[in-house]
């Protein structure tokens, strides 16, 4: 066996486990919690493999120089990456200890021994912790309201900062007109660096109040051009792009008889809490507290932006509000560093306003997919062509040729943020994620076209390209089934030999009583994918009622994540992913006017409300002897497609452009 990827740079047992407290096990993971329950699942894995009590384990806070470098917590890979590494480290420790205690060895020769990839792992049939639901270790503090989130940090001498952002992309500061405002005694300083403006105060209300006043008087050199709502489709169609063939086999026909195009708009992360960071300059050192998904890449990019040695930066992770990809967390960390520099020795906490959060964080890219197919006389698909276009899905720190934190594009010595790239194909790709269908088509051509101009900053949002790619594939399958008078479920099964895929489809059909009679205006639709074609299998049936608008009344979900670590955790992630996808699919779109995002508040960027939430039933198909797969993103694409297919069955209208609002439904009536 080879070492798990995460262990290549951190090969010792002591890189992962800390036995320095007698009777206790410190778990050192490079992955971070942001609401997905990962720390609970990792604790189950370690406790199980070491044979110690769950309550004897604690998580060592992720910090640079202490935690293993596991790059980003992303892509539903934490259980695969960190889980595998911790399992091997624990199995090595167990074998090495034999009848001795872990803590005696710690006091003696220590645990700086290489992890053994061939260490005997516990047999899954002997598991007593893994595979059983376990309460989350983070929920108690969240319910009590005690200090937990990064917003709650209150170190001594703390100052609070807020940022004044430019009125639109590309505008530069001419004059702040500070002389027009009488500053309150609570204001410490207004920091200006190029077009980066921050207000620092003794409390957050004072800082925010001054930002509001400055917004009214500051003079900017505004560039009138930029993205508008109406120009989006044209941009997607005409922008320069880098083209890549992801799959090609069999006959390549230029004209296929069935054709359709699908799209989604830019989407916001829209977390309920706004991103926050704390920074403190102490002599030559900079200490940053951040909710970033990748403390090491962030350290490297901040060091690059400041032209300093990364060793001068120490980063501690602190949980923020829900995180669904590359949001403004890294930006806020760099904001805090820039501001705190003016207050040597003092910590400065930066919280973004709601308008900053919805108006300036990176967006999930708008995308377009063009599909074409040929079906033979027996109703079998013979040719399949998929072309996906859009901006890249990653502008994460240290992944581009220059720093990618927002403020770097505003400060005097900075530069514009370069167009987003995509994660490498072995990690699932970005634009082309799930563009290759899991179905058995004889002739296939799959092409991704990543745009090389980026008017609006884009980056990773949960499931990346899989949201639209699966939406498109699964919508088109229903269209083809309908044109050839076949049942959508049977049509899928006829083209799918993958046994675990067939199982989730069959299971979800059973859960939803697929095929039952439904009243007029009500419809059921189905959607399926295997996330990244190598992660979890997931099938969803949605039931909708369409009157004035679309109401989703039920979702049935069948999922196969291989070995299940924490069943309740998996259900929570799968259901959460489905409801977030429902929200994107039915309601969400970022709106623009001349390069300014106008959907920067909850009225203009509405998300799913409690009264709109369907009943959800999730069934997990357990496979204890197969590898554990991530659950965070698997339900996103299938849910989106299931809803569109259900709408079609309810009112016989095929909506190909998300979101499925009344406007887009009306525009789709043929």
């Amino acid at each position: 066996m080879v070492l798990p990827d995460s262990m290549v740079a951190a090969p010792l047992v002591s890189d992962w486990l800390d036995f320095s407290q007698p009777g206790m096990v410190g778990i050192k993971t490079g992955k971070v919690e942001f609401g997905q329950g990962i720390l609970t699942a990792l604790t189950q894995i370690v406790a199980e493999e070491l044979g110690v009590g769950f309550e004897k384990c604690f998580l060592v806070t992720a910090s640079t120089g202490i935690s293993p470098n596991e790059s980003f917590t992303a892509g539903s890979l934490s259980v695969q990456d960190s889980g595998s590494a911790l399992r091997v480290a624990s199995a090595t420790a167990r074998a090495h200890a034999g009848t001795n205690s872990y803590w005696d060895i710690e006091k003696g020769v220590g645990w700086a021994i290489p992890a053994n990839p061939d260490a005997i792992l516990k047999n899954p049939s002997d598991y007593s912790l893994v595979g059983l639901s376990r309460n989350r270790i983070d929920l108690d503090a969240k319910l009590k309201g005690i200090t937990h989130f990064i917003q709650d940090l209150r170190p001594d001498d703390l100052l609070y900062a807020r940022i004044l952002r430019p009125p639109n992309r590309g505008s530069t500061l001419v004059d702040l007109s500070l002389e027009k405002i009488t500053l309150s005694t609570e204001i410490e300083k207004v920091v200006v660096d190029g077009s980066f403006v921050a207000v620092v105060a003794k409390d957050e209300y004072s800082a925010q109040s001054l930002v509001t006043k400055l917004a009214q008087v500051a003079i900017w050199n505004q560039t009138p051009a930029g993205m508008n709502n109406a120009s989006l489709m044209n941009f997607l169609d005409s922008a320069l792009a880098e083209s890549k063939v992801l799959q090609e086999f069999g006959e390549n026909k230029t004209e296929l008889p069935h054709q359709a195009s699908y799209s989604r708009p830019y989407l916001s992360h829209a977390s309920i809490g706004t991103v926050t960071a704390v920074a403190q300059w102490i002599g030559e050192m900079i200490h940053i507290w951040t909710q970033s998904q990748g403390i090491y890449p962030l350290r490297a990019d901040i060091a690059r932006a400041l032209s300093i040695d990364p060793q001068r930066i120490f980063i501690t992770h602190v949980e923020g509000a829900g995180c669904y990809g590359h949001n403004g967390a890294d930006d806020a960390a760099f904001d805090a560093v820039l501001i705190a520099k003016h207050f040597p020795g003092r910590p400065v906490l930066v919280t973004w306003s709601r308008e900053d959060e919805l108006g300036w964080a990176p967006y999930g890219p708008a995308m377009k997919v063009h599909l074409a197919a040929q079906v033979d006389d027996s109703g079998e698909i013979t040719h399949w062509s998929h072309r996906v276009r859009g901006n890249g899905h990653s502008s994460r720190p240290s992944t581009l040729a220059s720093p990618s934190m927002l403020a770097y594009s505003h400060i005097e010595n900075g530069s514009a943020i370069l167009p987003a790239g995509d994660p490498p194909q072995p990690r699932g790709g970005g634009t082309g994620r799930n563009a290759i269908p899991l179905y058995d088509f004889k002739n296939s051509l799959i092409v991704e076209e990543r745009l090389s101009e980026m008017p609006i900053r884009t980056s990773a949002l949960r499931a990346l390209g899989a949201h639209l790619n699966v939406f498109a594939i699964e919508s088109f399958l229903d269209e083809l089934a309908s044109r050839t008078n076949q049942d959508p479920l049977e049509f899928r099964l006829r083209h799918l030999s993958d046994p675990r895929g067939r199982d989730v489809l069959t299971k979800v059909a059973e859960l939803s009583s697929w095929g039952k009679e439904l009243p007029e205006g009500t419809g059921q639709g189905i959607g399926f994918a295997r996330y990244k074609n190598k992660g979890a299998w997931c099938a969803v049936v949605a039931q909708v009622d369409v009157e004035e608008d679309v109401k989703v009344s039920h979702l049935w979900i069948a999922v196969d994540v291989g070995l299940v670590i924490n069943p309740d955790g998996v259900r929570n992630q799968i259901e959460g992913g489905a409801l977030q996808s429902l929200s994107w699919t039915l309601k969400e779109q970022v709106q623009f006017n001349d390069g300014a995002v106008t959907s920067n508040n909850w009225e203009d960027y509405p998300i799913l409300r409690f009264s709109e939430v369907p009943l959800v039933q999730t069934e997990i198909i357990s496979r204890p002897t197969t590898p554990a797969l991530g659950a965070g993103e698997a339900s996103i694409g299938p849910t989106a497609a299931a809803i569109a297919n259900a709408v079609n069955r309810a009112i016989n209208v095929r909506v190909r452009n998300m979101p499925l609002t009344v406007t887009n439904i009306m525009a789709s009536v043929e």
Partner: protein
């Protein structure tokens, strides 16, 4: 007590009752209760989400009635009693917390403080506690992680 500060802002000393304790706060009279709690009193369980009363994250009880602390200035509190998520003497709130824990109702948990305060008032109002009445009561509260169904079920259990 009120005095003019050295600037044009009106600074004042306020006495307010929070979680059954009387506390002194010296701040601008227009300071929203949210920032009084978070910055001046170090009660950080009440969350900032939007500052405009559109997400519910900052909800607290004032004399038992849920309000958005982000757009309620401190001068408007007067003698009324403020309860926040940290308050341990409210039996309805404690019951909700225990049901939220048993239902594992939450992911990131950022929205939960406000939701639990709203739910406390909803249960105490003796409203019917079925799925739709709870969903309607929570309709001004946003949850992005998709924990809605668990939250509804926990509140239903807490009230029954």
């Amino acid at each position: 007590m009120t005095h003019l500060s050295t600037t044009l802002d009106y600074m004042a000393d306020f006495q307010i009752r929070v979680n059954n304790k009387v506390v002194d706060v010296d701040c601008d009279k227009n300071t929203p209760l949210l920032w009084v709690l978070r910055n001046h009193l170090n009660l950080t369980g009440t969350r900032f989400g939007c500052g405009t009363g559109l997400c519910g994250a900052c909800t607290v009880l004032i004399d038992g009635t849920p309000i958005h602390s982000c757009d309620t200035p401190i001068w408007a509190i007067g003698n009324k009693s403020v309860q926040t998520v940290e308050y341990e003497e409210n039996s309805t709130l404690q019951r909700i917390k225990s049901c939220m824990a048993s239902e594992q109702a939450g992911q990131c948990g950022f929205c939960l403080s406000g939701i639990m305060m709203r739910a406390t008032a909803h249960i105490d109002s003796l409203a019917t506690l079925d799925r739709s009445s709870i969903a309607d009561a929570l309709d001004g509260h946003l949850c992005r992680c998709g924990a809605h169904n668990r939250i509804i079920e926990a509140i239903r259990q807490a009230g029954s």
